[in-house]
């Protein structure tokens, strides 16, 4: 009877397309909003994830997330290096100087100072130049988006100069770092240069990044560092989630996105669920005739489930295709670079759609099961 079920589903084209498109748009909206939300949250920690050399971040005990730093003492680096299990530990500076071009265009920027000797923490994805050239005096590597912001409509080229706190710095590389939460240029330089560019304060050390020795896990090492130095030590992943949690708790972003996602779920569930339920109700006479003819309830349940899952699968596939197309288009735009359709969001949306389909099926099945076949004799 499967073909009968499918023909009943597709027989009324208007209702069929209405049902499939309702599910498709619900899917699109859910995948779109959850993915953008997740990617924006991921951006809050993009500079942490970009440092692939180190697995452990050490910071002042009061530091909660990447943007909020309280300088450590220089001696803290020595103390961390003294913790058993540390393979290496180096300094990392984070500041926000204003970078100005010779043409007068300027922008506040993220300046990351990496260890002079090892260059640990340097960006590994380079579009032009080399991070090794950071060893040259007064040199910076700037990210592509920052370059375009400061030098709009100009080709990517090395050797351009910027003025930073009365220092003339030369661009020796253009990187492809993940977009930060705020759309500011991201620049890397050596630690000693960064301090010069920013102006000397009594303490400058934003973070210490470290790597555990072989056989020591990153989480073990964080516990040891904390126990021995009293400093806050987090693995890269833990620190990333600290940042995400901070933004979730202290900004309106989750509320805004949450409302949109909730509306998408409710509207999607109501529209798709109700459309399918009404579709079954309008076909009750047909189901009654099938019951009278001798189709068992089990077979009728199978028919309804087949109809629901066919519409659900088609709608979900179409919606996912629409979402994938959307992200494919926008991931090449500079402002939305790196914002991708996350498989977790697809899975979550799939679960939501499955829930809607199951609820609508249960309501429809209930109507058909309680339907008296004798009702077909009533005009």
């Amino acid at each position: 009877m499967n073909f009968v079920a499918l023909r009943m589903l597709t027989g009324d084209r208007a209702k069929y397309f209405g049902l499939v498109f309702a599910i498709a748009f619900c899917t699109f909206l859910l995948e779109n909003q959850t993915s953008i939300f997740a990617n924006i949250m991921k951006r809050t920690a993009s500079q942490i994830l970009d440092v692939t050399d180190a697995e452990v971040w050490v910071m002042d005990p009061q530091t909660e997330y990447w943007e909020q730093t309280k300088a450590l003492k220089d001696t803290d680096l020595t103390r961390v290096r003294g913790v058993p299990g540390v393979q290496w530990a180096v300094r990392l500076f984070k500041g926000n100087p204003v970078a100005r071009t010779l043409e007068g265009k300027f922008a506040s920027s993220f300046l990351i100072g990496i260890d002079d000797a090892t260059l640990a923490g340097a960006p590994r994805e380079m579009l032009s130049g080399s991070w090794e050239r950071l060893r040259e005096p007064d040199s910076v590597v700037i990210d592509q988006a920052g370059y375009i912001l400061l030098f709009p409509d100009q080709p990517l080229s090395l050797g351009r100069t910027l003025e930073m706190n009365d220092h003339r710095v030369t661009i020796v590389g253009i990187s492809d770092v993940p977009a930060p939460f705020v759309s500011l240029p991201v620049m890397h330089t050596r630690y000693s240069e960064a301090i010069n560019f920013l102006g000397r304060e009594r303490t400058q050390l934003s973070f210490i990044i470290a790597r555990p020795q072989a056989g020591v896990s990153a989480s073990d090492l964080t516990s040891r560092i904390h126990a021995q130095t009293g400093l806050r030590a987090r693995t890269s992943l833990e620190f990333m989630w600290d940042c995400v949690r901070y933004y979730l708790q202290h900004t309106g972003i989750p509320v805004n996105f949450g409302i949109t996602i909730a509306v998408a779920i409710i509207v999607g569930a109501v529209v798709a669920g109700q459309t399918f339920y009404l579709f079954t109700v309008e076909n009750l006479k047909q189901f009654g005739a099938l019951k009278a003819i001798g189709i068992t309830n089990v077979r009728l349940i199978g028919m309804i489930l087949l109809q629901a899952f066919t519409a659900g699968t088609l709608g979900f596939s179409m919606g996912t295709g629409m979402a994938a197309t959307f992200f494919e288009i926008f991931r090449h735009k500079l402002a939305t670079r790196g914002i991708i359709l996350m498989w977790q969001c697809v899975a979550l949306t799939g679960a939501c759609i499955l829930f809607v389909v199951i609820v609508a099926s249960i309501l429809s099945i209930r109507r058909v099961l309680v339907l008296e076949p004798a009702a077909v004799f009533r005009g």
């Binding site: 009877m1 009968v4 023909r7 009943m8 027989g11 009278a292 001798g294 004799f377």
Partner: protein, 260 residues
């Protein structure tokens, strides 16, 4: 246990009662109905609206439970069957013709007719072939692929007749088969039903208001207020199976007067 109450009767009802609701709101739809149909006959159940005809055929078809009384359908006491067995019994032994045809609008005429066969496990292609052959016999050979919405009322009812007969049921239950049709189409449908549904091992029950088709009946049970008040056997009942195929007989003046 399926017992055989009366081998000669397709359906045998004794003192059938049906009550809907309870307490003061209870409605007694059937008040002790005695009704029988014979194999090889077209039995009409007639009477005014609300007299209990539809309730009675729903009970006979196993679609509704009775409150009281004894019922044997094709030698089987339906009370002895579990709900699942009753569904299988209906699928194997009963054919239905409804007033509003109740064809599946998304299926072609041939596919609609094939549904009972497919439900019984016949492969789809074979079922559609079988259905097409029957539809051709009924004069719809050129409309096999037509959707019900493109067929006239008479054609739709012919498809419904084919659907009711395609699996060779032993009991065919027809509810107002001509009510939605004009006189000519109604006549044609009854002609078709009389010519194709009535077989020696089969019994056909027709519920109708339509006095214009009473002359097709072998027996007419007259219902009123939940009871059978009168059973008559018009002239054709005496005719042989071969002879009634020759054409319809005229309804008696008594029925003309009552139902015209």
């Amino acid at each position: 246990m399926a017992n055989v109450m009366n081998e000669g009767f397709g359906v045998s009802c004794r003192n059938i009662r049906k009550r809907f609701g309870s307490g003061e709101a209870a409605v007694e739809a059937l008040r002790g109905v005695d009704f029988e149909t014979r194999f090889g006959e077209l039995s009409f159940l007639v009477g005014p609206s609300g007299c209990g005809k539809t309730t009675l055929i729903s009970i006979i078809a196993g679609l509704l439970d009775r409150t009281d009384g004894e019922l044997t359908v094709l030698g089987t006491d339906l009370d002895e069957l579990s709900p699942g067995e009753r569904v299988l019994f209906r699928r194997r032994n009963l054919g239905f013709i409804f007033q509003q045809f109740n064809l599946l609008p998304a299926l072609t005429a041939a596919e609609n007719v094939a549904v009972p066969l497919i439900a019984a496990g016949t492969p789809r292609r074979r079922a559609v072939d079988q259905a097409s052959a029957l539809l051709s016999q009924l004069g719809l050979g050129t409309r096999l692929q037509a959707l019900p919405s493109t067929l006239s009322g008479g054609q739709q009812q012919r498809v419904a007749i084919a659907r009711a007969l395609v699996h060779e049921p032993r009991l065919v239950v027809c509810d107002e088969p001509t009510a939605a049709l004009d006189h000519a189409s109604g006549e044609a449908v009854m002609e078709l039903l009389a010519a194709n549904a009535v077989r020696p091992g089969r019994t056909v029950i027709v519920v109708t208001h339509d006095a214009r088709v009473f002359h097709y009946a072998h027996s007419i049970a007259h219902m009123d207020d939940g009871r059978i008040v009168n059973v008559t056997r018009p002239e054709r009942a005496a005719r042989s199976e071969e002879s009634w195929r020759e054409g319809p007989t005229q309804p008696s003046p008594q029925f003309q007067e009552t139902y015209a």
